[in-house]
């Protein structure tokens, strides 16, 4: 007689699986990076190649691109699972859905969010971001991108059963992620102005904590709805 699995083993199995899938689709590991890179580079082309001009917009461009990159990458968080029926299996697990969703989001962030954070310094340099802003930028991105992923997961969960999603998804996610954008950019601007950023970081920390605790619940509920 086989024993029942623990919640933790289910959690880690889900985490492993999603990482494995992402890894098998090699390009998934590259794409968010590439996209981030491309979008960022669009601006010097579209707006202004002068370093002075760039310096002005660097922070904003970085954050907006990060936002869009994570938005685009959200799309396949639940979709393939929904289509091949894996999602039903996920919902039928006896373990709390909170952790399963969390596992999926975490693995998604590891694949799409983290690389982006790691790349940001290079792009900061390309966009002539003043040196003193680097650390703040990295830290804020490090705290901000998980929030984006978590908020995103709600949107995706709500819309996964819709035929056409790309856009309604954007409409749901973007407004919600604006606070993150604001907090992030403000913090970096502060750092540029030489001010103290602790306050802003605290705000972002609070956001992250809230998102971590609530977003998976909302997503779980949304998933149940979409599948039924």
């Amino acid at each position: 007689m086989v024993a029942q699995s623990t919640t933790f083993s289910a959690f880690s199995a889900t985490l492993k699986r999603d990482l494995l899938i992402a890894f098998k689709r090699r390009n998934d590991l590259m794409n968010p990076l590439m996209f981030f890179f491309i979008v960022v580079t669009l601006f010097p082309i579209g707006i202004t190649p002068e370093r002075e001009g760039l310096r002005e917009i660097a922070v904003g461009v970085l954050w907006v691109s990060a936002l869009l990159a994570s938005l685009l990458s959200m799309d396949n968080l639940y979709r393939s699972d929904y289509e091949d029926g894996s999602l039903e299996q996920l919902l039928l697990t006896p373990h709390p859905l909170y952790f399963m969703v969390l596992a999926k989001v975490i693995s998604h962030w590891l694949v799409s969010g983290l690389p982006l954070v790691l790349l940001s310094p290079i792009l900061g340099y390309v966009l002539a971001l003043p040196a003193e802003a680097y650390w703040t930028m990295i830290v804020t991105l490090l705290m901000g991108t998980p929030v984006l992923s978590l908020l995103g997961s709600i949107g995706v969960a709500l819309t996964v059963s819709l035929g056409s999603r790309g856009l309604i998804l954007a409409m749901i996610i973007l407004p919600m992620s604006v606070p993150v954008l604001i907090a992030g950019t403000l913090a970096v601007d502060q750092a540029l102005a030489g001010g103290a950023v602790a306050g802003h970081l605290a705000i972002m920390g609070a956001m992250l904590a809230a998102a971590l605790s609530l977003a998976p619940l909302a997503s779980a509920a949304a998933l149940r709805i979409s599948v039924s």
Binding site: M1, A3, Q4, S5, A13, I21, D84, L92, S228
Partner: protein, 234 residues
């Protein structure tokens, strides 16, 4: 024919049923699928759910699994309503639907590792044996997107060999299976109910699992108001 199949012939008529549904009512787009449907499933039974296309088989199965709650009525697992005590129920439930839940880029082994881990602890040895028995020998390591329709189906069916769940709910599991596949699955069903399991299966071909079998036909059960009228104004 009565709504509840007469349970006289079932092995343990007096024991409390594993799964019991009382007075289920479900309508989709104000079309009544079934109303006042009662269903009892005792250990040692296979209930085959029959009915014409669109009679509501899949819907009923999904309702029983708790995947779909647009219905009224009560569902009990071993006498306790599944609402409150879902995990006791879910850890004994194995559902395989129209969509078999097999990821395309993963190999059969990797797929099973996950879908098993959601419920029970299964070693790779178990999984490989299961795949072997289900007839996927040699395909353990090839991406599922390169498998044929029937082979995908088999991947999901392999879980039947691993899971300890007592209740199987299978939605047209015989689709795309070849003759051997069908035989194999039928023996699996027989074995399962032999050792006090129970199974609820929808299929259009007539099952041959000897004396355990009971048939519930949804067509003989549809109330009158669902005689269909053309909707569009043409």
């Amino acid at each position: 024919m009565p709504a509840t199949p007469s349970t006289s012939d079932s092995p343990a008529a007096n024991s409390t049923p594993l799964l019991a549904a009382r007075n289920l009512i479900c309508e989709r787009d104000d079309r009544v699928l079934f109303a006042g449907l009662d269903l009892e499933l005792r250990s040692g039974e296979v209930v085959q759910l029959k009915g014409s296309n669109g009679s509501g088989k899949t819907t009923l199965l999904r309702i029983l699994c708790g995947l779909n709650d647009s219905f009224s009525g009560e569902i009990q697992w071993q006498g306790r309503p599944i609402k409150g005590h879902s995990d006791a129920y879910l850890s004994n439930l194995l559902y395989i639907g129209h969509h078999v839940g097999v990821n395309k880029v993963l190999t059969p082994v990797e797929n099973l590792r996950w879908s098993c881990a959601l419920h029970e602890i299964a070693t790779d040895v178990d999984i490989l044996q299961a795949l072997d028995r289900i007839g996927l020998r040699g395909y353990e390591e090839s991406r599922c997107m390169t498998l044929s329709a029937g082979q995908k189906q088999r991947v999901s069916l392999a879980r039947l060999l691993i899971s300890p769940a007592r209740l199987w709910i299978l939605d047209e599991p015989f689709t795309t299976l070849d003759v051997n596949g069908v035989k194999l699955l039928e023996t699996l069903l027989a074995d399962h109910v032999e050792n006090s399991g129970a199974a609820l299966v929808t299929t259009h071909h007539n099952l041959s699992v000897a004396h355990h079998l009971r048939v519930l036909n949804l067509d003989t059960h549809v109330p009158d108001e669902t005689i269909l009228q053309p909707e569009g104004g043409w």
